[in-house]
Symmetry: C2
Subunit: 178 residues, 2 copies
């Protein structure tokens, strides 16, 4: 069932993403083109304290509206996913956590991109003594919600992305954060 | 906290996706560039029968490997998400369902794309009398798994994408499919 790659051409190079056009031979020997968005891997954090999780409110130019998401961001070149998760939690919320565990690692949009997301659960939270600065082009605001409040934010459309929905479902599963 | 859009330019136009470069004014009045991948919306189906769900095995050029995913595909122009979900289930597996309910609708990769996914739960499955053909460039193979088998497929990396993970977590939630 494999597709055999015949040629690959970079058709767009941006600052954030690049697009490759792949020419493949299908199992029936016909030729097809595939566009693939190459994107930096990302890490996200479900940060729990007592019965609440920490979300960040931010404006997303991709959809032109404010959203509520778990803290997350790109993994730098050579950086471990957990290191990126710790850094993003600190940068976006000023918090740090004593306890970390991996929840899931997956492809965000397998139909058109190789972009990955590594989700972590962080607990035993406290204010970071060494607070990192937010990225200069990032303006986010922290918000603590209980699980029922978070589901209401799904209903009213403020929580609307895959990583945050996944985090809510992991949170809801028995045993996590309990 | 809004970013004010100042200019938008299409910097890549492909068959599957397009890329826009957006120039925005940040809350601190500085100017930033945002690359946005415009992609067709998609629909996916958690199709349950007894204690099993239907997955499709396929080769994904985006990551150069075989995966196991819930049936899914692009929503055509003007097509309702549910209509697309029904069509994709039929095209990819030859099955149809009597009972449908929405599970979630979300942005797949909010950091760089406006791509959406609408997930549905399908039950009371049977073979479609009017079987649709697979897309000419698509080669998928159906596979029935129980929930524990599906989690093992997550562990061994065959299930590795956001929509399928979300579907498993919804499936696992009490009441769904029971």
């Amino acid at each position: 069932m494999d597709e055999e790659p015949i040629a690959q051409q970079r058709v767009f190079t941006g600052q954030l993403i690049a697009v490759d056009e792949l020419t493949v031979k299908l199992p029936n020997n016909t030729i097809a083109q595939r566009e693939i968005v190459r994107a930096q891997p990302a890490a996200g954090v479900l940060a729990l304290k007592d019965d609440k999780a920490l979300f960040v409110s931010q404006f997303r130019s991709t959809i032109g509206q404010m959203t509520l998401e778990i803290p997350a961001g790109k993994i730098n070149q050579g950086e471990a996913p957990l290191t990126a998760a710790r850094r993003e939690l600190n940068e976006e919320t000023g918090m740090t956590a004593m306890k970390w565990q991996p929840l899931a690692s997956y492809f965000q949009s397998l139909g058109f991109s190789d972009a990955t997301m590594a989700l972590f659960l962080a607990s035993e939270l406290h204010l970071a003594t060494n607070q990192l600065h937010q990225d200069p082009d990032e303006f986010v605001k922290g918000e603590w919600l209980t699980l029922p409040e978070a589901w209401r934010a799904v209903d009213d459309g403020r929580i609307c992305d895959s990583k945050t929905l996944l985090a809510l479902l992991y949170w809801q599963q028995q045993g996590i954060g309990a």
